[in-house]
């Protein structure tokens, strides 16, 4: 399965500005506006010419200096044609929300909870969006770059002994 028919089907369906195509790596990568992300993935899954029927993974990402700093990356797999595709969508940190995929893929449930847990991305329409790996009383999103990796609760760590 080539990249071209996939791009053609999607660009016939959605306006060209909302889908940015990147073929520079060995996996077709689409950067999609968050408002059409759900529809794009629904189309990729249900269109008879595309049949991306498996959600391989989904995760968050944070580029603190970018205009849209938070993102979600989705990997889909067409198991019939052995074809993979990657979708990215970027969100403002003032309103990091994107539509949940739980109505399309049951597997998205826990993956979206994990992404919420670590990046604070809100998946609207998710049936049970709460922390999954971290302690329930955690009051921040630890994989966002503004939070230090080290545990600040440790009084014995003197910066002078760590060359800083």
């Amino acid at each position: 399965m080539e990249n071209k028919p996939i791009i053609d089907i999607l660009q016939a369906r959605f306006s060209k500005e909302t889908i940015v195509v990147d073929e520079s790596s060995d996996i077709l990568t689409l950067t999609v506006d968050r408002n059409i992300l759900h529809d794009t993935i629904k189309c990729l899954k249900e269109d008879p010419g595309l049949q991306f029927n498996f959600l391989t993974t989904l995760c968050g990402i944070h580029y603190p200096d970018a205009p849209l700093p938070l993102g979600v990356v989705y990997h889909l797999h067409n198991l019939y044609e052995k074809k993979r595709i990657r979708l990215k969508t970027f969100l403002p940190d003032t309103d990091p929300s994107v539509r949940s995929l739980t109505d399309l893929f049951s597997a998205a449930n826990w993956m979206e909870r994990e992404t919420y847990d670590f990046y604070g991305i809100i998946f609207s329409g998710h049936p049970n969006l709460k922390r999954i790996l971290n302690v329930d009383y955690m009051d921040y999103f630890p994989m966002r770059k503004e939070y230090p990796l080290e545990d600040s609760a440790r009084p014995d760590k003197d910066d002078r002994f760590f060359g800083r």
Binding site: N134, P142, Y147, L149, E150, D151
Partner: protein, 183 residues
């Protein structure tokens, strides 16, 4: 035939006369307790593997009267926490401690249980002494079985010398209260 060379525990300090030996109850109870400690292994990672070697024939913690591990906290005397404790596991360690009957002791084996070790990160408890009072810390990453045994012998010292009144003292109650526990 040569007489067998029995290992004996020295009697505690006391007053000896023919047919009579007087000592304090603390010392007798301490002697009995320290040579029959039932440890509860709470092993989560590589320190637990070292503990397995410690229990094996070569090092044999059974020589110190700790042959019988207690996998129920209700009968255990010593909680041995060996390995990284994630923050999510903190309440579990505390609950196990609460389920143990008095008198109870705790030993933190290895860098992670003592201080969080190399895992200075948002998800790891920075030492189990944040959730339960610890009597002995064993350093090492992981400590060798000799070190685990040394830590155990320190516990034996504490057990043998503990006054019977300690667990009823206001200081001890205050210590438990500082962890949000009641005596």
């Amino acid at each position: 035939m040569p007489s067998p060379d029995y290992k004996r525990v020295d009697p505690p300090e006391g007053y000896t006369q023919p047919g009579l030996f007087a000592t304090s109850l603390d010392k007798v109870v301490g002697l009995a307790r320290k040579n029959s400690i039932w440890p509860l292994p709470f092993a989560t990672s590589c320190c637990g593997i070292e503990f397995m070697a410690t229990m094996g024939a070569h090092y044999d913690l059974g020589r110190f009267g700790a042959e019988r591990l207690s996998f129920s906290p209700r009968q255990a005397d010593l909680l041995m926490v060996m390995g990284t404790i994630a923050k999510k596991m903190g309440p579990v360690v505390q609950q196990v401690y609460v389920q143990m009957a008095e008198p109870r002791w705790v030993i933190a084996v290895g860098a992670c249980a003592s201080s969080g070790g190399i895992f200075d990160t948002y998800s790891v408890l920075q030492g189990i002494d944040l959730v339960v009072p610890v009597d002995v810390y064993v350093p090492g990453c992981p400590p060798r079985p000799e070190q685990v045994i040394n830590g155990f012998m320190k516990i034996q010292e504490l057990v043998g010398n503990e006054p019977l009144r300690r667990r009823y003292s206001p200081e001890y109650k205050e210590l438990l209260k500082s962890y949000g526990l009641t005596a």
